[in-house]
């Protein structure tokens, strides 16, 4: 009887946890992108609406975070070596990030629900 009661309690707890997980979506994530060697690293990010991209200039020269894609357009300005900037992801879709100074620096961001 005790064993049955124990299993029932554990099941109830598991169901409650699952219900709680379903009710509250996963916490927003932060994705860090570095710039060392005049490259965005990683070069592709799969993220969700509400996540944040954190750009860390760990390179020895100035860089920039510029989004030319229509519907996502943003320019975070010049970023000195050692500085960090953030971009909050507010809508679904795919966009590209470029460095204004170094055109070969490219990042693709896929944003899903």
């Amino acid at each position: 009887m005790d064993l049955r009661a124990n299993i029932a309690r554990q099941l109830t707890g598991a169901i409650a946890l699952a219900a709680a997980a379903a009710a509250f979506p996963a916490a927003a994530a932060e994705h860090t992108i570095t710039m060392k060697g005049v490259n965005y690293q990683p070069s592709v990010i799969d993220a969700k609406v509400g996540d944040t991209l954190k750009f860390v200039n760990d390179d020895g020269t100035d860089h920039n975070v510029f989004v030319p894609t229509k519907g996502f357009g943003a320019d975070l300005g010049m970023q000195k070596s050692g500085a960090a900037t953030e971009l909050k992801l507010v809508r679904l879709g795919t966009f590209e990030v470029e460095c204004v100074v170094h055109p070969h620096m490219l990042l693709k961001v896929n944003v899903s629900k």
Binding site: V67, P68, T69, G71, D75, V90, V101, H102
Partner: protein
């Protein structure tokens, strides 16, 4: 074949060439570009770029003349006389000073225009500049909201930055927008 028969004639020719080059340089610059009135209603507003780093935040409206759009979509060179505009606007701010956002999470622009930057292409305009500075045949100008020229504006930064996008006809957003196939 033309022969230069005497030293005075040769000297005159050289002087003429020098004067011509000098005049080209004299006319290079933002004065080549007139303020494009009615651009807000006659040009294509093809993109908006948020500037969250500005204090207070701004949004840039990007415009292009219709002939520039038609040519780019036909994969043809941007025609002479084509004009691209980058218009800085203030954004609407909430009571706590944060930018108001639309249903897509984008900044909402106010009607307050802060700057009007113009990039225009003219026949042979680039010849006035050395290769290390030249942006094809594009020239730049900076206007205030009322159409007056911005005092003491410098344009070396325009040339230097746009040169990095020579592969897109010296534009950051225009050719990119066409290539992306966005409406």
């Amino acid at each position: 074949m033309m022969k230069i028969s005497s030293r005075p004639e040769c000297t005159r020719l050289v002087a003429f060439a020098v004067a011509s080059l000098a005049s080209l340089h004299a006319y290079a610059g933002p004065e080549r570009i007139a303020y494009p009135t009615e651009y807000q209603t006659t040009f294509v507003n093809y993109n908006q770029i948020e500037r969250p780093d500005r204090k207070p935040p701004q949004i840039r409206f990007m415009y292009a003349t219709r002939d520039a759009v038609a040519a780019a979509r036909a994969n043809a060179p941007t025609p002479e006389g084509a004009i691209l505009i980058m218009e800085d606007r203030a954004v609407k701010l909430s009571a706590d000073g944060q930018p108001e956002r639309d249903a897509n999470g984008r900044f909402i622009a106010s009607d307050k225009v802060l700057n009007v930057f113009v990039q225009q292409k003219g026949r042979g305009w680039g010849e006035a500049y050395p290769p290390e500075k030249r942006n094809g045949d594009w020239e730049y100008a900076w206007f205030n909201a009322d159409g007056s020229r911005r005092e003491n504006a410098k344009f070396d930064g325009c040339f230097a930055c746009h040169q990095s996008r020579a592969g897109r006809d010296f534009t950051f957003t225009f050719i990119k927008w066409v290539n992306d196939g966005k409406p």
